[in-house]
C-alpha cells in the first residue's frame, strides 16, 4: 500500500495495519497531520491541527501495543472532531468568531471514550457557526470560510458538520465525529460521499458539546465505511452521569431473517434525475438481501412547524447570552447576524405546544414504521449546492419540495445512516438514507454493510487539490 492507499483506508483497516505492525500509530498520525496541513484549508475543513496532543497520544498507543496491551479496533487510529466538542489542547470555537478564543480545560465524554479506546485526536474540524442555529442561507457561514466538498471544491461540503464530512472524504483523518440537530450529519455525509450515522437521541453523551437544541442534539460518526460507523458508535455510546439523557441500551441487529425495509412514499419526488437513477439502482441492490415494502407514507405533520417551534425556544435559550450581548454582529453570515433576534422573539407557549404536539406525532411515526427495520429514501433530492450561491437559489424549483425526513426523524430521536450510492451533476456524490427504530442503529449498519459489500461507491476517492494548486 502506498501513502495514498493508507490515507483512504477505513478506520478498521487502519487499526489492523497498526495491530499487525505494518505501520505505527506515530507514522500514521504524521501522515494525517501532513495531509491536514496540505489540504485542510483548501476544503475549509479544519480549525485547529493538534500536533502535540496527536503525537503524544500516538506515541502512547505505540508503547501500549509494544507492551502487548492493544485497546481495541481503533487503537492508534487518528481522528478529528467537529469544533463544538471540548478537547484539551485547542480552542473550541463553535465555528463562530465570538467564540474563537474559547478554551475548555476538559475533554468531552466522546473524546474521553475515544482516548480510552486508543484513538488519536488530530484535529478540531470546521463547522457552520453555532451549528447553523441562527438560520444561515449560504455556505459562507463559518469564521473559517465555506466548507468545500473534496469531489468538487466549487461546491459545499454540507452542514453543519462540514469539516468532518470533507476531512473524511479527503482522507485527512481516519474517521470523524460530527453532530446533528436536524440534518447536520446526514447532509455532509451525502454531499461528501461518506458514511454518516446519526444515533438515537441519548445513545451518545453530549457532555462537552455545544448545545443548540437540547432535546435533539446528537453526536455521531462520519466514516469511510458503514462498518467503521458501527464500531465508532459502539465505542462512544453509553450512559454518562454528566448527561442525564444518555443511556446504556443494547444494539439489536436483525437475526435469522432478511431485513425488512420500507420505501418512503414519493421518496424521489422532485429529485434530480441522477438522484432518482441512483436511488432506483440502490433499491435493486437492497432487493437482493432485504424484503422491501413500497410506498409507506410518513404520518402527516406538521413536522417542520413543530420542529421550528421547539427549536426556536431552545436555541434562543442556549444562546441568550450571545444574543443579548449584541455580538451576533460578529458572525460570518449576514443571515446569522439577525437570526438570533428572530428566534429570541418566539413565544413560550408555542414551545410548549410544540413539545405537546411532538409527543403525539412521535407516537404516530413509531406505529407507522414499527414493522420495518429501516425506511429508505434518498438522503437529499439534489447534489451539493454551489459555494457562493444562496441555498434557495442553488437549483431550480423543480428540485424542491422533497419529502421531509429530517424533522420526523430528529423530533422522534430515531437513528439514520447515509451511505454514498453514486454520482450526479458536476461529479458530486449522492446519498442513500436508512432511518430506523429507536436504538436500532445496528440494524441500519447491518443493511448498509450489506449494501457496501455489493457496491464500491464508498471506496471511490476524490482527486484532491492543495491550496497552492487550487484554481
Amino acid at each position: 500500500m502506498n501513502a495514498e492507499d493508507i490515507a483512504f483506508s477505513d478506520a478498521l483497516t487502519l487499526g489492523q495495519l497498526i495491530a499487525k505492525r505494518h505501520i505505527s500509530s506515530v507514522e500514521l498520525t504524521n501522515l494525517y497531520l501532513s495531509r491536514l496541513e496540505k489540504y485542510g484549508a483548501t476544503y475549509g475543513a479544519v480549525v485547529t491541527i493538534m500536533h502535540d496532543r496527536a503525537l503524544r497520544e500516538a506515541r502512547a498507543a505505540d508503547r501500549e501495543l509494544a507492551s502487548g496491551n492493544p485497546r481495541g479496533p481503533l487503537h492508534g487510529v487518528p481522528y478529528g472532531v467537529k469544533d463544538l466538542l471540548a478537547a484539551v489542547g485547542a480552542p473550541t470555537t463553535w465555528g463562530a468568531a465570538p467564540y474563537r478564543n474559547q478554551v475548555f480545560d476538559y475533554d468531552g465524554t466522546v473524546v474521553k471514550k475515544l482516548q480510552a479506546a486508543g484513538a488519536v485526536l488530530c484535529a478540531k474540524l470546521a463547522m457552520v457557526e453555532l451549528a447553523g442555529g441562527f438560520g444561515y442561507n449560504d455556505a459562507d457561514a463559518s469564521f473559517t470560510g465555506p466548507g468545500r466538498t473534496p469531489w468538487n471544491r466549487a461546491f459545499w461540503s454540507g452542514g453543519s458538520s462540514s469539516g468532518p464530512g470533507a476531512a473524511v472524504a479527503a482522507g485527512l483523518v481516519g474517521f470523524a465525529i460530527g453532530s446533528e440537530t436536524n440534518g447536520s450529519i446526514m447532509v455532509p455525509a451525502a454531499f461528501c460521499g461518506v458514511s454518516g450515522l446519526r444515533p438515537t437521541y441519548g445513545r451518545v453523551s453530549r457532555h462537552g458539546a455545544m448545545a443548540l437544541m437540547w432535546t435533539s442534539d446528537k453526536l455521531g460518526p462520519l466514516c469511510r465505511s458503514a462498518r467503521d460507523a458501527e464500531v465508532v458508535l459502539k465505542t462512544i455510546s453509553g450512559h454518562d452521569p454528566n448527561d442525564k439523557t444518555s443511556r446504556d441500551e443494547p444494539f439489536p441487529a436483525v437475526r435469522g431473517r432478511r431485513p425488512k425495509i420500507a420505501v418512503v412514499k414519493n421518496a424521489t419526488a422532485k429529485s434530480m434525475p441522477a438522484v432518482v437513477e441512483n436511488f432506483e439502482a440502490s433499491m435493486r441492490v437492497l432487493h437482493e438481501f432485504c424484503d422491501v415494502a413500497p410506498d409507506v407514507a410518513v404520518p402527516k405533520g406538521p413536522w417542520g412547524d413543530v420542529f421550528g417551534a421547539i427549536f426556536n425556544g431552545e436555541c434562543a435559550a442556549a444562546f441568550r447570552d450571545l444574543i443579548e450581548s449584541g455580538r451576533s454582529r460578529e458572525l460570518q453570515s449576514v443571515d446569522d447576524r439577525v437570526g438570533g433576534y428572530q428566534v429570541y422573539g418566539s413565544l413560550a407557549v408555542d414551545y410548549v405546544d410544540g413539545m405537546r404536539c411532538r409527543a403525539i406525532l412521535n407516537d404516530e411515526l413509531r406505529r407507522a414504521f414499527a414493522p420495518y427495520d429501516a425506511v429508505v429514501h434518498p438522503t437529499l433530492s439534489t447534489v451539493a449546492y454551489p459555494v457562493g450561491v444562496p441555498f434557495d437559489k442553488a437549483y431550480p424549483d423543480k428540485y424542491s419540495g422533497e419529502i421531509d425526513m429530517g424533522s420526523p426523524g430528529n423530533l422522534a430521536g430515531v437513528p439514520s445512516i447515509s451511505v454514498p450510492n453514486g454520482f450526479g451533476d458536476h461529479g458530486l456524490p449522492t446519498g442513500l438514507a436508512l432511518m430506523g427504530r429507536a436504538w436500532g442503529e445496528f440494524a441500519l449498519t447491518q443493511i448498509a454493510k450489506g449494501y457496501q459489500t455489493r457496491t464500491r461507491f464508498h471506496l471511490e476517492r476524490p482527486v484532491l487539490h492543495s491550496t497552492a494548486s487550487s484554481p
Binding site: 457552520v128 447553523g132 442555529g133 438560520g135 444561515y136 442561507n137 459545499w156 452542514g159 453543519s160 436536524n182 440534518g183 446526514m186 447532509v187 443548540l212 437544541m213 432535546t215 402527516k300 405533520g301 406538521p302 417542520g304 412547524d305 420542529f307 421550528g308 417551534a309 427549536f311 426556536n312 444574543i323 450581548s325 449584541g326 454582529r329 439577525v338 437570526g339 433576534y341 428572530q342 428566534v343 429570541y344 422573539g345 418566539s346 413565544l347 408555542d350 405546544d353 410544540g354 413539545m355 405537546r356 404536539c357 409527543a359 403525539i360 406525532l361 412521535n362 404516530e364 437529499l380 433530492s381 439534489t382 449546492y385 441555498f391 434557495d392 437549483y395 424549483d397 422533497e402 421531509d404
Partner: protein, 88 residues
C-alpha cells in the same frame, strides 16, 4: 423542509433546499415592536435588518396556529414529550 441544524425562525427549521421566494406581506405591529426591542442589544441594527428581524418574528408569532397534530387542536390533557420528574 429542514435539512440542517439551523432554523430560519420565520418559517420553521432551515433548509438549504431551494424554495420559491415568499410573497411579501406587511409585518404586524406586534412583531415590529418586538424587533425594536432588539436594538437594546445592538444599537447598530439598521432599518433593513430590523425589517428582516420583524419579518422573522412575525413568522414565529404565526407558528402557534400551525403547531397542532394535523389540523386538530391540542387537548387540555395532551402533555409535552418531556415531563417533570421528581428525583429521589
Amino acid at each position: 423542509m429542514p435539512l440542517i441544524a439551523a432554523a430560519p425562525p420565520s418559517s420553521g427549521p432551515a433548509s438549504p433546499t431551494p424554495s420559491p421566494a415568499p410573497k411579501k406581506k406587511p409585518v404586524s405591529a406586534a412583531a415590529r415592536a418586538l424587533a425594536e426591542q432588539m436594538r437594546n442589544f445592538d444599537s447598530a441594527i439598521t432599518d433593513k435588518e430590523l425589517e428582516t428581524i420583524a419579518t422573522g418574528i412575525d413568522g414565529n408569532l404565526k407558528l402557534g396556529a400551525s403547531v397542532n397534530p394535523h389540523g386538530t387542536a391540542l387537548k387540555n390533557w395532551d402533555e409535552p414529550v418531556t415531563t417533570f420528574e421528581v428525583e429521589s
